[in-house]
């Protein structure tokens, strides 16, 4: 069902009892006591341990793989290689709601003709202990022909660059090239007349920025347990943002019907987009299929960095023209994004988001999807947007300074609002960017004086937000409690938010509702917990399921009272006569209705199966104060405030948590995080000691300001808040450091050696 067509939701301004309240987290106790089961906690009797042999080369042809010695090792029960996975055609096919090229995916989970990056899987073993499995890996003899490699995105685009795939011809270029290259696709978004726009500008600034791929940095490594039965069915337990997509990918890669694979998501120790794809899951299934014993694979941190998907790094050129009084006349950008070893970087949303926060008549954005000898990228909160909007927001800030205009006023003057035409297509509906900027100006933070070597930076950002396919069951139990069953893994407190909305609809205490995250056999298809969709889409389904349960209870009561259904209303958790005309009846509470359900028709439940549409775009602004130590290049974050439109904060604590987490990831991305490769193309910092994400001791309190401009397509106004918070901070940090030092760095991360180098070169 399409919610916008048939459900007919409308905003409700009644006083809310649970929506917007900081209710207890249903999963909180189990998480703080260690009882909650994460990916690596899964165990079964007779379980084997899987380990994966990975390439030591960035680029090499596989001449041969000899597993005979490994198979003879006592305790080894199975070995799989490329020969155990059927090849797939090169075409993008739907998998759930995503377009996937299974020819690429089958090569990513297990290398075939070539290894394409350091850490690429080559073979896997299942053994009775981890020690034996590790010993077996050393006995696998792989003969490689080492090939030249390329790591940098600009170098990968150059003529004569080492070629990853000799059958890749650039899409989006006319005429289509006859020679293969590492450039998978060219995209272009146009609006207005870019030349006349620049002709009407008084000030034009053009700069090029460079960012490195960064990892999502989830604390919990990928882990799964697969158990194949002799009857052809299998079960899989894993840490994922979407059990239904895992089922879709694995059934295709292993060669089985979807209905025969049951996937149960564990609790998740972070994902941020990185757990929307599969790496080890099909390998564990293949090993289990060979042995008919459960096989568990848990990545090490080294494997997480070398072999799972970071986000794209990019090289972005931005050119913006403005009038003397601060009106943006024209915007141009060229984005070159790293896809890793297979096509499919986040350049498309990067292009679409680049100038979306602003009302500009003339826009031209060109994007390039570029392969190099790195792991295939995966999503990372608002994939593509942080890199492009970082570059744009830095240029915006410099232009505001050039004409002597306050950076918030400059953004306010050009801010997108309802009716603004975007370069990527639609006009905006109701949005809250102006309200965000006005809230920013009103903050005390904005007025705090700064000291020597200190700077304040502003950055803004936009993300679309999405809906998608969602199913919810709400079971009314015989004691009057309820079980809320959703198919969306809880990656940010969604259980509590769903309970808040269900309780609000039902008019009962939120503590009476127990939320469950279902495996794939319980509900129909659910899209990922990703794209800032869960509170919006799963929330819509939860509300519809609650309303469906209420209608079913009203029907029972109407039959008991022998009056029409529309003569029974639901208020404060009870069925009541709609008016005195309906008759005189004592209200029947939910527990009373549940207790007699067997006598009035049987169990009562509410259901919803929807494809949620009409997600409300998100806008946010970050403001940060930093102090730069000119002797060491160290940047200390003094103050940080996130201001963002949530539409409606169903559970403010979790909205604030999303804002704070995004800000911290921005700080890490801006100051320290990067994949460091040696001349040999091998990753040199595959651990948290060398790949430095921010620690609590590095950070001030991240303050938040929740702005609420309701999304008219959700009954409580929800927009979704998970993506936007990671966008504005890169530019905010860069602008703050620029203002502290009086110089502009155009490369991330702005780590101490790079800051020192910039200081020395500028002589400041």
């Amino acid at each position: 069902m399409d919610n916008s067509m048939d459900v007919g939701y409308s905003a409700d301004d009644k006083e809310l009892k649970f929506v917007g309240k900081r209710t207890n987290r249903p999963d909180g106790v189990d998480k703080v006591t260690g009882r909650a089961r994460f990916g690596a906690d899964a165990r079964l009797p007779g379980m084997l341990y899987g380990k994966i042999l990975r390439s030591p080369h960035a680029h090499a042809r596989i001449i041969s793989i000899d597993t005979s010695k490994a198979q003879m090792l006592s305790g080894v029960k199975a070995v799989v290689t490329r020969d155990d996975f059927e090849d797939r055609d090169s075409e993008f096919v739907p998998a759930g709601e995503m377009m996937v090229n299974y020819r690429d995916m089958v090569r990513n989970i297990m290398a075939r003709e070539k290894v394409l990056y350091d850490g690429h899987a080559v073979a896997a073993v299942a053994a009775t202990s981890i020690t034996i499995a590790k010993q077996a890996l050393k006995l696998i003899d792989v003969t490689y022909e080492v090939l030249p490699h390329v790591i940098d995105v600009v170098e990968a685009m150059a003529p004569g660059a080492p070629l990853l795939h000799d059958d890749l011809f650039t899409d989006g270029v006319e005429p289509k090239p006859t020679k293969p290259s590492n450039v998978a696709k060219r995209l272009e978004f146009n609006m207005g007349d870019i030349a006349s726009g620049f002709a009407g500008a008084d000030e034009i600034l053009e700069k090029t920025f460079d960012t490195k791929p960064v990892h999502q940095g989830y604390i919990e490594p990928h882990s799964c347990l697969a158990s194949f039965s002799e009857n052809g069915s299998a079960e899989l337990w894993c840490s994922t943002q979407g059990q239904y997509l895992v089922r879709a990918h694995c059934s295709k890669l292993v060669g089985m019907e979807i209905s025969k694979l049951r996937v149960t998501p564990s609790e998740i120790g972070g994902g941020f987009g990185g757990k929307t794809v599969v790496f080890i899951e099909p390998v564990a299934l293949a090993l289990s299929k060979k042995t008919y014993r459960p096989v568990k694979i848990t990545m090490t941190r080294d494997e997480v960095f070398r072999s799972s998907g970071p986000t794209s790094g990019g090289n972005v050129r931005v050119k913006i023209g403005i009038t003397k009084d601060g009106k943006i006349m024209a915007c141009e950008a060229e984005l070159k994004y790293q896809a890793g070893a297979f096509q499919g970087s986040s350049v498309q949303p990067g292009c679409m988001c680049a100038f979306a926060p602003y009302d500009v008549a003339n826009v031209n954005v060109i994007g390039w999807d570029v392969l190099s000898n790195r792991p295939k990228v995966a999503a990372y909160r608002a994939p593509g947007a942080p890199v492009s909007e970082y570059a744009v927001e830095c240029v915006i800030d410099e232009l505001a300074e050039r004409i002597g205009m306050d950076p918030v006023d400059f953004r306010l003057k050009n801010a997108a609002k309802e009716g603004t035409q975007t370069a990527y297509g639609p006009k905006f509906g109701p949005i809250g960017f102006v309200e965000v900027l006005e809230a920013t100006k009103a903050l005390d933070h904005y007025k705090i004086p700064l000291g020597p070597n200190q700077g304040r930076g502003i950055g803004s950002g936009f993300w679309f937000n999405i809906g998608g396919e969602t199913c919810v069951n709400l079971n009314v139990n015989e004691d009057g409690t309820l079980t809320l069953i959703t198919g969306s893994p809880d990656i940010g407190g969604s259980r509590a938010s769903m309970c808040n909305m269900a309780a609000e609809e039902l008019g009962i205490d939120v503590g009476l509702i127990n939320p469950i995250i279902a495996d794939t056999s319980v509900l129909g298809f659910n899209f990922l917990s990703a794209g800032s969709r869960t509170t919006f889409a799963c929330g819509l389904a939860t509300i519809e399921a609650a309303r469906n349960a209420i209608e079913n209870m009203r029907k029972r009561v109407a039959q008991l009272w022998d009056i029409p259904l529309d003569a029974v209303v639901w208020e404060d958790g009870a069925a009541r006569p709609a008016s005195s005309n309906a008759g005189v009846f004592e209200p029947m509470t939910l527990p009373e209705i549940a207790k007699i359900a067997p006598k009035t028709g049987g169990p009562i439940a509410g259901h919803a199966e929807i494809n949620a549409q009409g997600a409300g775009p998100g806008f946010g602004t970050h403001m940060v104060d930093v102090e730069v130590d000119k002797e060491t290049g160290h940047v200390k974050v003094l103050r940080y405030t996130v201001i963002q439109d949530a539409g409606k904060a169903i559970h403010p604590s979790f909205v604030e948590g999303q804002y704070q987490g995004g800000a911290v990831q921005c700080i890490g991305w801006a100051l320290n995080e990067e994949y460091v490769y040696g001349e040999d193309g091998r990753l040199q910092n595959s651990g948290f000691l060398d790949y430095r994400i921010p620690l609590a001791s590095d950070l001030p309190m991240i303050d938040t300001k929740i702005v609420e401009v309701p999304n008219p397509n959700h009954p409580y106004g929800v927009r979704g808040v998970g993506e936007t918070p990671i966008i504005p901070g890169l530019a905010a940090m860069s602008n703050a450091i620029s203002n502290a030092l009086g110089l502009r760095m155009t490369e991330l991360p702005m780590s101490p050696p790079k800051v020192l180098k910039a200081i020395k070169e500028a002589g400041v």
Partner: protein, 69 residues
Amino acid sequence: MAGGETEMEVEATSVRQIFRHLQERFPNIKSHMVDDISVAIDGSVFQDAWLKKVTENSEVYLLPRIGGG
């Protein structure tokens, strides 16, 4: 795909009918219509909405599907 055309008027009462018109006019666009296109109708984005009604003056944009992390 559309021979350089970026804007056109079609008579339709639903998204599906718009897609049919476009597929007849631009056969190369067919596969994209099924799987990797979203539509924006009067400011609201719909990822999959073949049955969504459009009115006489609806402004409809086709845009790439959007995911997220």
